[in-house]
Symmetry: C3
């Protein structure tokens, strides 16, 4: 492999990171602007989003997330789905990412942290760029499930 | 275009993203350390910062932001202007970015989210690097203005 | 220096930034999953973490951070150490970074911001990649110490 080829690989890895960070950064703006159909295209066609034991959305079902009465009430009150900058591990055409998410919700003249969750994302490079294959979201409520999710990339 | 030229363009795009992310990440530290004059150089000479319907600062006026009694009271109480990792869209010598910002304010032995806002930034490459040409900040209070701002890069 | 060499330097600077951002993004997941021994390897062998006037951990002592009763109580209640995307300044084999950190803690069916701090990190390139040589964490409580820390990279 010559110098340019080696450098091209390094640039591609940096582009992968940037694209994945950008994809994750689009989640909040997508749901907080009620753009459910755009949510579908963030995931692979059969991709899944699991929210604790409460909800699971797969593929086209993701469009329904922003139609949930609970979500509509959040947006009507004033709300931000604020995600932290992720840890990202690349592995060829797959990747894993971990971050925190907060639902910050207006209440009177203040905002409260209505939900704080651990997120583990598995991503895949498709013909249309990086997409989410699976996202697991768990409330950081002291239970083991969330503690394990937030530690996904720590031990391995 | 040969391989090195093509690669150089890709590297430049990555550098643009990194520089814009860095510029946005400097906003909170600048206002929370009361460095109003440094705020001026984050914007283009005629650049503007609109905070809802309440305030608009243009160019050198930005130095006055940290002199506002409300801002001084924030810093005296203990305060962080915490911005989320942005979505960034590059378009040659211009760029658009969207993120959340929170004013996290001390109250007793806790901190509260005093403000949660949607931000749309338009940026421009100048001879001194990337600068903010316009920033629109709107409270996420359930009104349509903030919902539109947070969705700026979602739909197109 | 030919084109490829110059480009290689630029790519390396981008990789440095990405690796430092990744290192900082791993702090929260490490402590919130009680992986104290992994914390040790984030720092250089003699590296230090100062938390206000309260605590200082050096080298192998860092493993003890997650054993502190206060930290264990946080995790048992449900907790996230949420760090903001950092400002990063590279200087060869050293770097400085500044960001905010929040301890977001469950209380009943909500989460509260139990701590909001300013952080100044000094980092160093080692044979095993970038490591933290020093981190200073100070509550943003209106005192001058935190205001200075958050302004570390603002003034130049």
């Amino acid at each position: 492999m010559n110098g340019v080829e080696a450098l091209t690989r390094r640039v591609r890895a940096l582009e992968d990171r940037a694209e994945i960070a950008e994809l994750l950064a689009s989640f909040g703006p997508t749901v907080d602007s009620l753009a459910g159909s755009n949510l579908v295209s963030m995931w692979t066609s059969g991709g899944e989003y699991r929210v604790g034991e409460e909800f699971a959305f797969r593929g086209a079902e993701l469009a329904g997330l922003t139609e949930l009465p609970g979500h509509q009430a959040y947006v009507a009150a004033g709300c931000g789905h604020v995600l932290s900058a992720p840890q990202i591990r690349l592995d060829g055409d797959s990747a894993t990412a971990v971050n925190y998410s907060m639902v910050v919700l207006r209440e009177g003249d203040r905002w409260v942290v209505e939900r704080l969750s651990a997120n583990a994302w598995t991503l895949e490079r498709t013909g249309d760029g990086w997409r989410v294959r699976h996202r697991e979201n768990r409330l950081l409520d002291g239970g083991e499930a969330a503690t394990e999710i937030i530690g996904t990339l720590v031990r391995g």
